[in-house]
């Protein structure tokens, strides 16, 4: 079902969402820096940055999340569970790549063997409103990574910016609940033509140039390849790429305690940090950047597809844009292509 939302009505529409839901949308923190955040006022929503630095996974799997608290009562520790917010939630303005990534980490958090209640509760309570990508960046490669700039999968509603208005598609049962929204107008055949044009333009810009196809088979043969000796060299071992990656989902669980009370917290963790694989004995099975970079790439392009039949990369380009030393994952993928591997002797990237 398709509707149109005039931009004049957009703030009122957002306000109507805020009245009924916890609304999460991109918010500007500083010039050029934004994150997804709970919104109190329509003016806070800022769609000027294509993808906020922190991906939308933060809304379902927050960087730092208290799992439960405990308190000393007499000689015993008493556990206090955390109350989730009562209201339903809306994620507004996420791009197809971020939304696809939520489905990807869902494969891990909501599986047959175990279910992560923290993720699941947030996921179930959230209606996702995707936003089509009219102007993908040159660092975007979603089409190569199994998505596309206008991928609807995962969205309950989908917005497309037509200039003066948004085209609104209701895609799921959750989305259909909005069909009587008072701000939605009927669409024009012209609008649908425009959507088609916008889609074609964006597809053309993103292209299919990154050789992701078959990468897991290539990596299967590369565990001990000299490729790993060199490719990690420039990596300084920070966690920018993994934290800002919409599909990276590793975490560390710690207790924050004082004498009388404490809380158990889980925080994002990164396979690129040495501490990540450090064992209590002092032994580190991934002693250098070589093993750590191998883990990062292998997990995305080999282990994850082996387990879940999809690469753990959506081509959002954040790791490329924000890497302090310009490590480019597109180049790394390209270097695993058969003709490049053959040529490689010593010097890569």
């Amino acid at each position: 079902m398709k509707f149109k939302l005039e931009k004049n009505d957009f703030p009122s529409f957002l306000q109507s969402l805020i009245d009924r839901y916890d609304l999460y949308a991109p918010v500007k923190l500083a010039e050029g820096v934004s994150i997804y955040k709970k919104i109190d006022h329509p003016d806070e929503v800022d769609l000027s940055i294509l993808n906020p630095q922190k991906p939308a996974k933060d809304i379902f799997f927050p960087q730092s999340e208290t799992m439960f608290r405990y308190e000393k009562v007499g000689k015993q520790n008493q556990m206090i569970s955390m109350e989730e917010g009562k209201r339903d939630r809306i994620l507004f303005g996420a791009r197809a790549c971020d939304i696809e990534a939520i489905s990807i980490i869902e494969k891990v958090f909501v599986g047959e063997e175990y279910t992560d209640v923290y993720f699941l509760e947030k996921r179930n309570k959230t209606t996702i409103i995707g936003l089509g990508c009219n102007h993908p960046l040159s660092t975007c490669f979603c089409s190569s990574a199994g998505g596309d700039p206008f991928l609807r999968a995962g969205s309950d509603l989908f917005f497309i910016d037509l200039g003066e208005a948004y085209l609104v598609e209701l895609l799921t049962e959750k989305g259909m609940a909005f069909h009587k929204n008072k701000f939605f107008r009927e669409t024009d055949p012209k609008d649908l033509t425009l959507v088609k044009e916008l889609e074609e333009k964006a597809f053309e810009k993103v292209g299919f140039s990154i050789p992701v196809d078959g990468i897991e088979k290539r990596l299967d043969l590369m565990v001990e390849n000299p490729f790993w000796d060199k490719i990690h060299e420039k990596c300084i071992g920070c966690s920018v790429c993994t934290f800002l990656c919409p599909t990276c989902h590793c975490f560390d669980i710690v207790d924050e305690t004082s004498k009388e009370r404490g809380k158990r917290v889980r925080n994002w963790d990164s396979c690129l940090s040495a501490l990540y694989s450090q064992e209590t004995s002092g032994h580190n099975p991934r002693p250098s950047g070589r093993e750590r970079m191998r883990q990062r790439l292998m997990h995305k392009f080999y282990y994850f597809p082996k387990n879940f039949h999809r690469i753990a990369c959506v081509g959002c380009g954040r790791c490329i844009l924000y890497c302090p030393v310009n490590f480019d994952i597109r180049q790394a993928i390209d270097l695993t292509s058969p003709k490049r591997i053959k040529k490689m002797k010593g010097e890569v990237i």
């Binding site: 050029g32 920070c238 934290f243 917290v265 940090s273 480019d328």
Partner: protein, 314 residues
């Protein structure tokens, strides 16, 4: 031409086996960027480049290559970090061959991005002009208007500590050493200063890019990672974020070359150098010391002199 000279020197060092590898800059994959390049093959030294986008401090890689002879391409600040590292015995000075570039000062890619509308797709520089091509626009910008703030106040652009200089020393300016950012900061009330610090650090995502990009942050175990004792929690509580940033800055006292690598690395664009630059200024005033200028002078907080000012002992 600087780039040509770097390539020639690198080729010679590798051919004569005077170094095991050269660490320099290569073509980046993004406009306004270059990328660190590790060169072991003399035949490929023409892939080394030099321009206003060589923003990384390559001395950060030295501890990693402490068993090798390294030829390192350095700007003034990078050379000072290398000297500081060798003073702290992270690296033997004779293992290191510094290829010094009198620095034209680096262009702040974020300032350039802010000055245009739309995505930048191509950037090139010629005689002080940046030619920017983007998605539906084209523009020319004056390079000097877009320098990193750490570069704007640099008075050690020529790496005099280098084994070889690829060009004539540049004229150092401004010679007044008052950092405009610090003096503006100092003029504010303590509440305003706190608010600024609080706002900046609140964006921190604890990726530690600032730490990892800094040549002087080489501790085997950073205080934030220590679990016994545990100095700091690992989440995003504002007090933990502030604590991290205060200690990170303080730990640089007398060791920071002011290269700005911490701030350049931050994906959340947190202002960081106003803290370290202030400490640098303080160290200079109190101890007459500047990081990495004198190959033999130990960092002031690692030594003491009978004449040290001691008014803090009450």
């Amino acid at each position: 031409m600087i780039q040509q000279k770097i390539r020639e020197i690198a080729r010679e060092l590798l051919t004569k086996k005077e170094v095991d590898l050269i660490i320099g800059f290569g073509e980046g994959t993004l406009p306004l960027r270059t990328t660190p390049r590790f060169m072991r093959n003399a035949e490929k030294t023409d892939r080394l480049i030099w321009n206003s986008f060589c923003e990384n401090n390559l001395a950060v890689y030295l501890p990693k290559f402490s068993r090798f002879k390294v030829g390192l391409v350095v700007k003034g600040c990078d050379a000072r970090s290398a000297v500081a590292l060798s003073l702290e015995k992270r690296f033997k000075a004779d293992q290191l061959f510094l290829i010094g570039v009198p620095c034209q000062r680096m262009v702040d890619r974020r300032k350039v991005k802010r000055a245009v509308r739309g995505e930048i797709l191509q950037a090139r520089e010629e005689e002080g002009i940046l030619y920017i091509k983007g998605d539906g626009f084209e523009t020319k910008l004056n390079r000097e208007d877009f320098l990193y703030s750490s570069c704007q106040v640099c008075i050690h652009r020529t790496p005099l500590q280098a084994n070889v200089l690829v060009d004539d020393p540049v004229e150092e300016y401004p010679l007044t050493e008052i950092h405009p950012e610090i003096s503006a900061f100092e003029k504010r009330s303590s509440e305003e200063r706190w608010r600024f610090f609080e706002k900046e650090t609140s964006r921190c995502i604890r990726c530690y890019a600032c730490r990892e990009a800094c040549p002087m942050c080489y501790c085997a175990e950073c205080f934030v990672d220590s679990s016994r004792p545990k100095w700091i929690e690992k989440g995003l509580n504002s007090s933990d974020l502030q604590f991290y940033h205060v200690v990170r800055a303080y730990h640089q006292t007398g060791r920071c070359s002011g290269c700005g690598a911490c701030e350049r690395a931050c994906p959340m664009e947190i202002r960081l150098t106003y803290l370290t630059q202030k400490l640098n200024q303080e160290v200079k005033e109190r101890f007459g010391f500047e990081t990495g200028i004198d190959r033999d002078a130990p960092p002031p907080l690692a030594t003491f002199e009978a004449e040290d000012k001691q008014e803090f002992i009450k």
